[in-house]
Symmetry: C2
Subunit: 156 residues, 2 copies
């Protein structure tokens, strides 16, 4: 009764997207209607990399520099991000979240966690241990080596 890697992959491909759909829906419901997905992703990156450059954000969200510049314009205009000239290299801009920007991300995360927790209330102690164990097994398999995890990682 060996379990093949192919069957494992099949099960993961079956279940993970289903879970992700709930995560996305709940994140989205608290993102506010006026915040696009790329803007939300940019804010998450800035949250995990305070003082990030515009190029860093552009790389992460996968947009060109001009597009990212305009995207950040919108976030600055709404008071969610601070853009200030770097001290060391005056070509660069340092990006940080405002407290309001941070609050939006934290609230979205907490809302989603609470929603998932409610859905999981029916699980037995044995089921819970199984899930925790599996997450512990899968985390190192899929963790990118270059990046640290953080509360506001990718959800879109």
């Amino acid at each position: 009764m060996d379990i093949s890697s192919e069957y494992l992959a099949h099960e993961i491909l079956d279940v993970v997207p289903i879970i992700m759909r709930t995560i996305r829906r709940e994140m989205r419901s608290h993102r506010g209607p006026d915040l696009s997905v790329p803007q939300y992703r940019a804010m998450n990156f800035i949250r995990n990399h305070p003082g990030a450059s515009l190029s860093g954000v552009a790389d992460h969200v996968g947009l060109t520099l001009p597009s990212t510049s305009k995207l950040v314009d919108g976030l600055v205009g709404r008071g969610l991000v601070i853009r200030q000239e770097s001290e060391l290299d005056r070509r660069r801009v340092d990006l940080k979240l405002t407290q309001q920007g941070d609050s939006i991300l934290v609230a979205a995360y907490q809302h989603t966690q609470a929603c998932l927790a409610r859905m999981l209330t029916g699980l037995s102690p044995g089921d819970r241990e199984e899930v925790i164990a599996a997450m512990g097994v899968l985390r190192p398999v899929f963790s990118p080596v270059t990046e640290e995890a953080a509360p506001g990682e990718e959800h879109e």
Copy 2:
């Protein structure tokens, strides 16, 4: 040593998006560069609901009817989808994948499954059982009641 629902939710929120990032990246790499995300999602829906109406696709991908009409135009123009007038109600259009459209989705799925399987080769028999068990626990928790699962479900 009870495991709280909140902690469970936290672990899932930590690991599932990390796995999803790999799934998305691999799916995308075989989607072909000329197929947008909404088009890809529309094709998956049509694959799982052969003969679907335009309205059904629009509901699923979350676009308006006019936008979906144009989106399907592109898929029909590239020979990936067949659009034909319904026999029963001549206002409706029945949508189906062409064999080529189907092949693209199948290839993307198989490529992704193979990639994940390679990443999972290092897991011990015990780890594998743990993961399979956890997927079995989580599937009914997050499965939508109205929809059946299928090979080409959501990946974007």
